[in-house]
């Protein structure tokens, strides 16, 4: 019996762990949470807490039920809950939010084997399911605290669809418009983007390709102001920065990420310009998730000095 630990090399590892990466994503979303409270009031915080808490609970309960090791400490369930919350309208009934996290955690993530094995983004898939299941409440958006005095208003995208742009670019940038809680403030999301880049949690490829594609296509369709409005309104920033960069369901190489981003931008614009829905970010990311294995094999790296047999 040896008194020393014998283990395989390397004997040192980088300080980043799955948990620290998830913690960084949570921190990066904090500005968006703050913005949602500023614009939509304290109920935004309540809905966020419910989403995060239920997401963690479902993961814990499912793993207990299946007699698996509990992995709530890796914080990935909390991230899913928080991202889903950012995708919901502030007045959504709480039980519907809890149902959403159930779909995200149990159906999309755990049934496929847990973290790392799901092929589609849990938060996005849950949002799409909710959009169909709760079509009414999911598309009823309250005005911001600084907006018009009304029970519900149209989102800028819906307004643009019907041909009237009523929000200023500044309001769109700051987030003083109707919409899902976390998607309206481009400023808050950009702060989070900066943090994730500095911490090297994500690379710039997907967000830049995604937002860039939407901007260029909108520019071609309706000029600079329309281009700016298209990227600032709706979920482009939230989707590009926090959902199209999800590790598990997106390509791993830089070129793969660029292709993924361009694909997302393209599908988003197709839906927005020609589809029935005013918004297409969720669908675009979900569709690209399905293409991810193909993109990965197209952009596989070529080994240095490798000789093809």
């Amino acid at each position: 019996m040896s008194k020393f630990i014998v283990s395989v090399s390397p004997h040192i590892t980088h300080k980043d762990s799955t948990q620290s990466i998830m913690r960084d994503v949570l921190i990066a979303l904090c500005p968006a949470v703050v913005a949602s409270v500023i614009f939509f009031g304290w109920r935004a915080l309540l809905l966020t807490v419910v989403c995060v808490a239920t997401a963690i609970f479902w993961e814990w309960a499912f793993q207990k039920l299946c007699k698996r090791e509990t992995t709530i400490c890796d914080l990935s369930a909390a991230v899913t809950g928080l991202i889903l919350a950012m995708n919901l309208p502030v007045d959504l009934p709480l039980w519907q939010a809890a149902f959403g996290t159930l779909v995200a955690i149990v159906v999309v993530k755990q049934l496929f084997g847990g973290l790392g094995y799901n092929f589609a983004n849990p938060a996005i898939t849950a949002r799409v399911v909710m959009l169909i299941a709760f079509a009414g409440t999911m598309t009823t958006f309250a005005p911001t605290n600084f907006g018009v005095d009304a029970v519900s208003v149209a989102t800028p995208l819906a307004a643009m669809k019907s041909g009237t742009v009523d929000a200023s670019i500044l309001d769109l940038f700051l987030g003083n418009v109707a919409g899902s809680m976390g998607e309206t403030s481009a400023l808050a999301l950009l702060l989070g983007f900066g943090y994730l880049l500095v911490r090297r949690v994500i690379s710039w490829h997907t967000p830049v390709a995604f937002i860039g594609t939407v901007f260029v296509l909108a520019l071609a369709k309706g000029g600079v102001m329309f281009g700016l409005a298209e990227i600032l309104a709706g979920g482009v920033f939230l989707g590009a920065i926090f959902m199209a960069t999800d590790y598990v369901t997106t390509p791993q190489t830089p070129w793969g990420r660029v292709i993924f981003g361009i694909g997302c931008g393209l599908i988003t614009c197709l839906i927005r310009f020609f589809g029935n829905y005013p918004e297409g970010v969720s669908f675009s990311i979900l569709l690209m998730n399905i293409l991810t294995p193909y993109i990965s094999s197209w952009t596989a790296k070529k080994a240095l000095g490798g000789v093809d047999a």
Partner: protein
């Protein structure tokens, strides 16, 4: 021409002993040194001493056991106590020569500088020096240098020392710089390279400065400060980052006109050719969180790790892991009774906290391993193919060219043992190729038989 450098990992440097000139450890009477006859890649050496023979410092105790092999010289004076079978830390066993030191450290009287006049005599001298790749690989240097000079375009002097903690090469470059330059002149004379490039990571500016000064008058020498990005000192990485050339799969550096030699290795050769003193001792960096006084030591080959650590001032807490070599590629050993061998560059002892391997979690497909691998391999995909037992996929993923540098496992946030998987996957690929070959032979034999039968009819 600017070269796009290969990827790598930002490992911590921890070169705590960079300013510490190696101290020669005294050999007390009665110390037992165990010298395995297999310390390098290739055939084990053959012992030429018998039990109760008296040996002196620098005396031959084992001769090469084949073409790819190396002689061994005693680092102490004393009596051969026994010829024993020892279990090496990598699991194989081999003969070892156990010498009881008399503490006198008497020099062998027949030591004299060899006569070197041409390439064959130079290679002979390198062989007799007992020097093997001291950077860690342990490949007999004479075999590596035995090349056609017409093919040699570049000689890369590898002073990268990219592993954390180790400063043995740093001290060699500073304290033995003159010998190093003599070695470079020898290489230039006999291997006739167009250019000699000294590659040093830029976290050692003192070495870059010193060698630039000393090589001022040697127009064929270029001192190249490379970014401190692990594994800068990997052979293929060094060749690529200094010359821009890529060694193809299954080929040797000389096939692209390059020879890479480690600084300590070259100094060992130069020392032998100048003085006749062969390789009998090593610069060893002793460091790690369980070491009281990190320092560099000159230790005779065969000295137990425990004695070397005692000489530096011992452990400051209970050591829980001992690593021979750097923390990225070194081997953790079960006991501190292990000995210093030719390619031991460091002895690292870690406390409880640093010794315990982190908990492994599921792969989150972040792609860090893929984007860090200097050789553009895809460790996450290799792991999947290995788990599924897919030999054909492993072949396409080129796991065979992995140099096991450890970048992938270092950056992995899920702390997966990717290097170990690559090692196992290499074995699986080997078996798969062997099976393919056997199947092909069987099919060919069957076909030949069928044709024979057809001809008979």
């Amino acid at each position: 021409m600017s070269i796009k450098l290969l990827h790598g990992a930002h490992v911590p440097h921890r070169k705590n002993t960079a300013d510490c000139t190696p101290k020669r450890m005294p050999v007390e009477a009665g110390t037992l040194l165990t010298i395995p006859v297999s310390m390098n890649i290739g055939a084990p050496s053959k012992a030429v001493v018998k039990v109760n023979d008296m040996v002196k410092v620098g005396q031959l105790i084992a001769e090469p056991g084949g073409f790819v092999s190396s002689p061994i010289y005693s680092g102490v004076s004393g009596k051969v106590k026994k010829l024993d079978e020892v279990l090496l830390f990598h699991g194989a066993s081999c003969q070892a020569i156990v010498i009881e030191a008399d503490g006198e450290q008497t020099l062998y009287e027949e030591i004299q500088a060899p006569t070197v006049t041409d390439l064959p005599s130079f290679i002979e001298a390198v062989k007799n020096s007992g020097v093997v790749g001291l950077g860690g690989a342990g490949f007999p240097t004479a075999v590596k240098l035995n090349v056609d000079p017409a093919k040699v375009d570049y000689i890369c002097i590898n002073g990268a020392e990219c592993e954390p903690y180790i400063t043995a090469d740093t001290r060699t470059m500073l304290d033995d710089a003159e010998l190093l330059v003599e070695g470079i002149e020898l290489l230039k004379k006999y291997l006739e390279p167009g250019k000699v490039i000294i590659g040093i990571e830029d976290n050692k500016p003192q070495c870059v400065k010193k060698l630039k000064e000393l090589c001022r008058d040697l127009p064929y020498v270029e001192v190249n400060a490379l970014p401190a990005l692990y594994p800068q000192g990997g052979e293929k990485v060094m060749i690529h980052n200094t010359t821009g050339r890529i060694v193809p799969e299954g080929k040797l550096p000389i096939d692209v006109g390059c020879v890479v030699i480690n600084t300590s290795t070259l100094v060992g050769i130069a020392k032998y050719i100048k003085t006749g003193m062969p390789l009998t001792e090593k610069y060893v960096t002793v460091d790690g969180s369980a070491i009281a006084n990190p320092m560099n030591v000159i230790a005779p080959i065969g000295m137990p790790v425990k004695k070397v650590v005692e000489f530096t001032g011992g452990y400051k807490c209970e050591p829980k892991k001992i690593v021979l070599g750097g923390p990225m590629m070194g081997v953790s050993v079960p006991s501190d009774e292990e000995v210093v061998v030719k390619n031991t560059g460091a002895i690292l002892a870690f406390n409880e906290k640093d010794a315990r391997p982190p908990k492994t979690t599921d792969c989150i497909k972040c792609g860090r391993c893929i984007n860090t691998c200097p050789l553009n391999l895809m460790p996450a995909h290799i792991e999947t193919a290995y788990k599924l037992g897919k030999g054909e996929d492993l072949k396409k993923l080129k796991v065979n060219i992995c140099m096991e540098c450890g970048c992938c496992a270092f950056v992995c946030p899920a702390k997966r043992p990717l290097v170990q998987v690559n090692k196992l996957a290499k074995g699986m690929l080997w078996d798969y190729n062997a099976k393919l070959k056997a199947d092909a032979e069987k099919a060919a034999a069957k076909k030949a038989e069928a044709e024979k039968e057809a001809a008979n009819v």
